[in-house]
């Protein structure tokens, strides 16, 4: 099979990731943070190593400000519920995934309203202008994707972070599509919380993700103001009925996914060894070739082909629905994703009419795979 669905989850994983998961499950997978025996401590140390790798990658000093989760959606729920206050206002962009859109919409029960600002992929000032236009006196949070999960739109998080700092607004970034391919520095971008998956650009297993809180969230007094989202045991002050006022335990209830996190640590090392920029350069080169392939065929529409720094191509073939195209590609041994990609807002923006075909690349894809893709797609177009 040729796997072009890496925006959903990267596949395959590096051998070191698989080997570490096996090693963990077969030789040291005690419950971290619960006991004093060797296996519990070894698990906790492996998890701490992963926190260290994450903190270094995203430019914070304190590894304990990394909260480990099951995926980006859990991370976003944790971050939003931490910062959200009753009867306030939240801003989101018009390219958000349902992980942001639905979570923000759910906060109406606390009297929290939201507005959607417009992203201009070609003009940062227009995007910033739209944010300012939608701001209210009680705007308390701006949450947005760094990179769209549907096409090549990238948001200017440095400029947005600067704006949020100026107006005293919490800034939460969804790094689902950028962690591992884009350099993100939390301090420089004034990000309060960065939410990421472990299983996409960081090449870890599914069931891993995290929130990185800015180093400024360090004191008990500050953390008391941030509401936990998950409640339960974590081996910390068990006689106390309240969640701890300390990171990461304030936001981590229940046993962590030790094998997954051990694998994620190896995935991050894999990215570090190659560097984010080299990986991104490779996927961009594949993307640009794929754009040329689709555009060379008749009756095709490529969305935002001019955004040439991307790992994710979105297209349609006239008069064939996207699911049919994906099914036919699957018959030719090529995995892509069709439909709305859990992101109805960006499909409205692009006017895709019920979805499109998404092709997304990873470090492991090759140009020879694109030749197979070209022949398969040509067959679909010519035999409609």
């Amino acid at each position: 099979m040729i796997y072009f669905d890496n925006a959903a989850t990267t596949f395959p994983k590096p051998p070191a990731v698989v080997n570490e998961i096996i090693s963990c499950m077969s030789s040291y997978c005690g419950n971290p943070g619960r006991s004093g025996h060797s296996l519990s401590i070894k698990s906790a140390e492996k998890i701490y190593e992963c926190r260290e790798l994450i903190s270094k990658m995203f430019g914070i000093d304190n590894p304990t400000n990394v909260v480990l989760t099951q995926n980006t959606t859990y991370a976003i729920n944790i971050a939003l519920n931490a910062f959200a206050k009753r009867k306030t206002h939240i801003l989101i962009s018009d390219i958000e995934h349902n992980s942001v859109y639905r979570t923000v919409a759910s906060l109406y029960k606390f009297g929290i309203d939201y507005d959607i600002f417009t992203v201009d992929p070609f003009n940062i000032n227009n995007t910033l202008h739209s944010i300012k236009q939608k701001m209210r006196q009680n705007t308390s949070i701006l949450i947005c994707a760094h990179v769209s999960n549907v096409c090549g739109i990238t948001l200017p998080i440095f400029e947005i972070g600067t704006l949020c700092k100026k107006y005293g607004i919490y800034f939460i970034v969804d790094g689902a599509q950028s962690a591992g391919t884009h350099s993100i520095n939390i301090q420089n971008c004034n990000i309060d919380a960065l939410c990421c998956p472990g299983h996409k650009g960081l090449y870890g297993p599914q069931g891993t993700g995290f929130v990185v809180f800015n180093d400024k969230y360090a004191t008990e007094k500050q953390l008391k103001k941030l509401s936990p989202f998950i409640y339960g045991g974590n081996g910390f002050n068990s006689a106390d009925k309240n969640m701890p006022d300390i990171l990461p335990e304030r936001f981590e209830g229940g046993t962590l996914n030790t094998p997954g996190i051990a694998g994620l640590a190896e995935g991050i090392k894999f990215v570090n060894a190659r560097t984010e920029s080299v990986i991104f350069e490779h996927t961009c080169a594949l993307y640009n070739s794929a754009v040329d392939i689709v555009k060379s065929l008749p009756d095709t529409v490529v969305y935002y082909p001019e955004l040439n720094e991307s790992s994710t191509l979105l297209f349609n073939i006239n008069n064939i629905d996207s699911d049919t195209v994906a099914d036919k590609l699957n018959d030719s041994g090529i995995c892509v994703r069709a439909g709305l990609h859990c992101s109805p807002l960006v499909h409205q923006k692009l006017n895709t009419h019920n979805g499109a075909v998404r092709v997304s690349f990873s470090y492991f894809n090759t140009f020879s795979e694109l030749n197979v893709f070209y022949n398969a797609l040509k067959n679909i177009v010519l035999n409609r």
Binding site: G235, F236, N237, S238, I246, E249
Partner: protein, 72 residues
């Protein structure tokens, strides 16, 4: 050698402290504490030579690394 313990509720902060002290030349070992030894129950501790305790406390205070109690 007399042993002292710095009680640290979080295993993550215990590991962080152990690494930090080690990088500053102070050896310590992570141990799990009995619930009755600390005010709020389950916690970890860093066991170290009592003669290193003042320096260790000073390092942790300066780095802003939280600990709950000192057990001598």
């Amino acid at each position: 050698m007399k042993k002292c313990i710095i009680a640290i509720s979080s295993v993550n902060h215990a590991i962080r402290s152990e690494k930090f002290l080690s990088s500053n030349g102070i050896k310590s070992k992570i141990v799990k504490l009995q619930p009755n030894l600390t005010k709020k129950g389950c916690a970890y501790g860093l066991e170290l030579n009592c003669k290193d305790l003042p320096a260790a406390i000073s390092f942790l205070d300066n780095a802003g690394i939280p600990y709950s109690e000192i057990l001598r």
